[in-house]
């Protein structure tokens, strides 16, 4: 019997075929959407503040002070801001009167006193629970033996308001970023005012993240000063939090230094990544201020800071002249030259027991001694972390000397700048032959090599090369 098709209810075979394909198409689309919902979707993303260290629901701001409500949830604005300079009719501790930006304490007082230090301090901190902020050598370098400075306040306490050294962390020669100088420098720039907290030159308090410096668990603590926007937390976003703001975008020649006591893992997170794709572009960050244009007065030094031209300096994008005797993982010989360093490879951001905020640990190892002045042979402790000394090049020579690099073409060194003649021109005392065992007085590295030094700055016979 011939089947009777009802156009309204039953499709003819041709239609059925079409509908079958439509169904398949719909099923495919819906399935794809469902699977995308499972696998393609971005994780739920909080705003900048809720993603920040201060706004973190686990370790965010939590004020513990007499008169302050204990039941305010962690990360709440009121832990830092008192909307009416009082709560429940009275001002909680610290009782200091109304603070600018409705902060519970004076926004900034001096080098070691200000709002940020009310919490970023171990002794007397208002944060509950108290916490430590170790320096970069500890956190990125992995040198966990140095537990002083233990806090941000401690890191800034190597000098006082006048810029004079203060005995701290067993050092009487340490240095810190001079906060009042920073405040003076940024006032009137990039939306900052004379009321701005100098810490906010580098950190957006509503965005800055904790960085565990662990592979797979990273945070991004700094914001580029020149992008500062006083009215928009998002406009002044973090720096380094996206791939385009990592140092491998500044240069393809970055070589990460070793992590402490390791030759297989690298800064800043102990991973095997070496190209800087996991490191904030600190060159762009630091040279926002420390560049060839800005004049920055240093109370500590009593003069303007030297300018930095990282696009040309040898530790920047400028190349070694002909050869280099580098300690691994840096190249040695005549090939692979042109590595570019990050500022943080040598400098602490906040403070250090050494002068010029020089790190205590560099390229996988601790400096053999402290560096307490600009003009001292102790700079060898830093240089030696990456540059072969004589003994490393030639076992028959002295350690901690750089005769070969400057006077002898042997081994990895093929571009000595000085013939070993007329020793007394540069070396004032001592004697012996013109070889690597001579006991001539050692030159001070910083006689010739420092940020901003020019080819004619060598204090004896000038060279024709860049000296930094």
């Amino acid at each position: 019997m011939r089947r009777r098709y009802n156009n309204g209810n039953i499709r003819n075979p041709g239609d059925s075929f079409k509908y079958h394909h439509v169904n398949i198409l719909l099923f495919t689309i819906l399935s794809a959407l469902a699977l995308c919902g499972l696998f393609c979707s971005e994780p739920a993303h909080a705003g900048a503040y809720l993603d920040s260290a201060h706004g973190n629901s686990s370790y965010g701001v939590k004020r513990n002070a007499a008169g302050f409500p204990a039941d305010y949830t962690k990360g709440l604005c009121a832990h830092c801001h008192e909307q009416h300079a009082s709560i429940d009719g009275a001002e909680p501790e610290p009782v200091s009167g109304p603070g600018t930006y409705t902060l519970f304490y004076d926004n900034y007082v001096n080098q070691t006193d200000g709002f940020c230090f009310a919490c970023h301090n171990v002794t007397g901190t208002y944060q509950n629970p108290p916490f430590n902020n170790y320096n970069y050598s500890y956190r990125a370098g992995g040198y966990t033996a140095i537990t002083c400075p233990v806090s941000i306040l401690s890191a800034f306490s190597f000098i006082n308001e006048t810029g004079s050294p203060v005995f701290n962390c067993s050092s009487a020669v340490g240095t810190s970023h001079k906060l009042t100088d920073i405040q003076t420098f940024i006032a009137g720039k990039w939306g900052y005012t004379a009321d701005s907290n100098p810490c906010a030159a580098c950190h957006n308090p509503h965005s800055a993240q904790r960085d565990p410096h662990t592979s797979g668990s990273r945070g991004w603590p700094v914001s580029l000063p020149s992008l500062h926007d006083s009215q928009d937390n998002n406009a002044w976003g973090l720096w380094g939090d996206v791939a385009a703001e990592r140092i491998n975008n500044y240069t393809s020649s970055y070589q990460a230094p070793y992590r402490y006591n390791s030759t297989v893992t690298y800064e800043p997170d102990g991973s095997t990544t070496q190209d800087g794709s996991n490191l904030t572009d600190y060159v762009t960050f630091c040279t926002d201020c420390h560049n060839t244009i800005n004049t920055i007065y240093s109370t500590t030094l009593g003069r303007n800071l030297r300018t930095i031209d990282w696009n040309n300096e040898k530790h920047g994008k400028g190349n070694a002249d002909g050869s280099l005797c580098g300690d691994a993982p840096y190249p040695s010989g005549t090939s692979g030259l042109g590595k570019v360093l990050s500022c943080t490879d040598c400098h602490e951001p906040h403070g250090s027991p050494n002068v010029f905020l020089t790190r205590e640990e560099v390229n996988g190892g601790a400096l053999a001694g402290s560096i307490g002045a600009f003009s001292t042979t102790d700079w060898q402790y830093l240089c030696d972390r990456c540059h072969n000394d004589d003994q490393e090049i030639n076992g028959g020579c002295q350690a901690d000397h750089y005769y070969i690099t400057h006077h002898s073409n042997e081994g990895c060194n093929t571009d000595r700048p000085y013939n070993p003649v007329g020793c007394g021109t540069c070396h004032d005392s001592g004697g012996g032959g013109s070889d690597c065992m001579a006991d001539r007085e050692k030159k001070i590295c910083t006689d010739c090599h420092y940020h901003g030094s020019s080819v004619t700055d060598a204090d004896d016979t000038p060279t024709t090369r860049r000296t930094f």
Binding site: A46, G47, A48, Y49, L50, G55, S57, G60, P69, D71, Y72, T73, K74, G75, L76, C77, A78, E82, Q83, H84, A85, S86, D88, G89, P98, G99, T100, Y101, T102, N107, T193, D195, H206, D229, S230, Q231, D232, N233, N234, A235
Partner: protein
């Protein structure tokens, strides 16, 4: 029926619906005895019948048959009660559908909401639950002369003339509704708040939406005290001299308002400013999301009292005020906040802040 007739009938129906469906408050009308009694006695029975709690039915001032709370705090299930045919706004009720614009004192007593707490509102002494934490209005000068003896009206109240022996007297009879821009007497001031300008929502926000709400008057600069008592004190009593809602709050909470105590007229402020223009740039430009719809959580005031409620906020023009964060009477949240600032979920706790501070979420 012709088509024309059908249109006429339809138009009439629409007009009738419009006229009778809305609760339109107006000057008190009707029988005098609805509100007054000559002898407080009728057949030996006291005629004072609208009282609250332990208030007695003894004769009242101005021959009234009730008290403020007796009429406006009946504790019933509706936020607008019908008293002798007059829709009467309730400041104390258990209506589960919401609260009127000023909030609900029931949160303080715990008869509604998450539990009793002094911190949830202004502790009007007539409710019988006095303030246990504060000893005076925070931010007031000291001595303040108020203590915690806050009343609905009168010298230590908010509504009506704020001087001895006056209060709300006569205001109901002369009440001016809607847009109030004169504000030189309580009756022609916003909600009988002396000196305050604004646009009163017809049903006190029983119904409310982005385009159905009160409008508050604000200024682009707070008052400055600088030793000048006259910013609040004048022969007519305590009256804010700048006619704003925030200025009115400042008559008790002075240091939370005046330029002398908030750090001036521009950032950085030392206290959260009021009667300051919401900045037009930065994160504030994104007030409450795209298109800047009016937020009932973080409200703004206008520098010109509008004719009708606005559904849009204009950063750069509109004004931050006390009622941006707080309700006037009480809320279910500590400090009379409009949102749960004490939520254990941080995103909820700062949700109201984020209406203006859009990039700090």
């Amino acid at each position: 029926m012709t088509r024309l007739k059908r249109y006429i009938v339809l138009a009439v129906i629409v007009m009738l619906i419009a006229v009778f469906s809305a609760e339109v408050p107006a000057v008190i009308t009707g029988q005098c005895s609805d509100c007054h009694t000559m002898h407080n006695s009728q057949n030996g029975v006291a005629m004072v019948s609208y009282v609250f709690g332990s208030e007695t039915t003894s004769a009242k001032d101005y021959l009234l048959v009730g008290t403020c709370l007796g009429c406006h705090a009946q504790g019933g299930s509706s936020m607008v009660a019908n008293i002798n045919g007059n829709p009467t706004p309730q400041v104390y009720h258990i209506d589960a559908t919401g609260d009127l614009a000023g909030g609900n004192f029931a949160y303080i007593l715990g008869t509604k909401g998450s539990g009793a707490s002094d911190a949830k509102g202004h502790n009007v002494i007539d409710f019988g639950k006095t303030e246990d934490t504060l000893t005076s209005p925070p931010g007031h000068h000291d001595p303040d002369g108020i203590g915690v003896n806050i009343t609905c009206a009168g010298l230590t109240g908010c509504h009506g003339a704020r001087k001895s022996g006056s209060g709300i007297y006569g205001s109901h009879h002369r009440n001016v509704d809607g847009k109030l821009t004169t504000a030189d007497q309580p009756y022609n001031s916003y909600r009988f708040l002396p000196g305050v300008k604004g646009l009163e929502d017809a049903d006190w926000e029983k119904t409310k939406s982005v385009s159905d709400h009160n409008e508050y008057y604000g200024a682009n600069t707070p008052m400055t005290y600088s030793g000048n008592c006259n910013i609040c004190h004048n022969p007519q009593g305590i009256i804010t001299s700048n006619n704003t809602m925030s200025g009115f709050c400042g008559t008790c909470h002075r240091n939370f308002h005046v330029t002398d105590a908030i750090g001036g007229t521009s950032s950085p402020f030392t206290r959260h400013p009021t009667d300051i223009i919401l900045p037009g740039g930065g994160e504030y430009a994104g007030y409450n999301g795209g298109g800047n719809p009016y937020s009932l959580v973080a409200r703004v005031a206008r520098t010109t009292v509008p004719d009708v409620p606005g559904d849009t906020v204009y950063p750069g023009t509109d004004v931050v005020m006390c009622l941006s964060c707080h309700a006037a009477h009480a809320t279910d949240y500590p400090d009379m906040m409009r949102w749960n600032y004490k939520s254990t979920t941080l995103s909820t706790a700062i949700s109201g802040c984020n209406v203006c501070h859009t990039s700090k979420n």
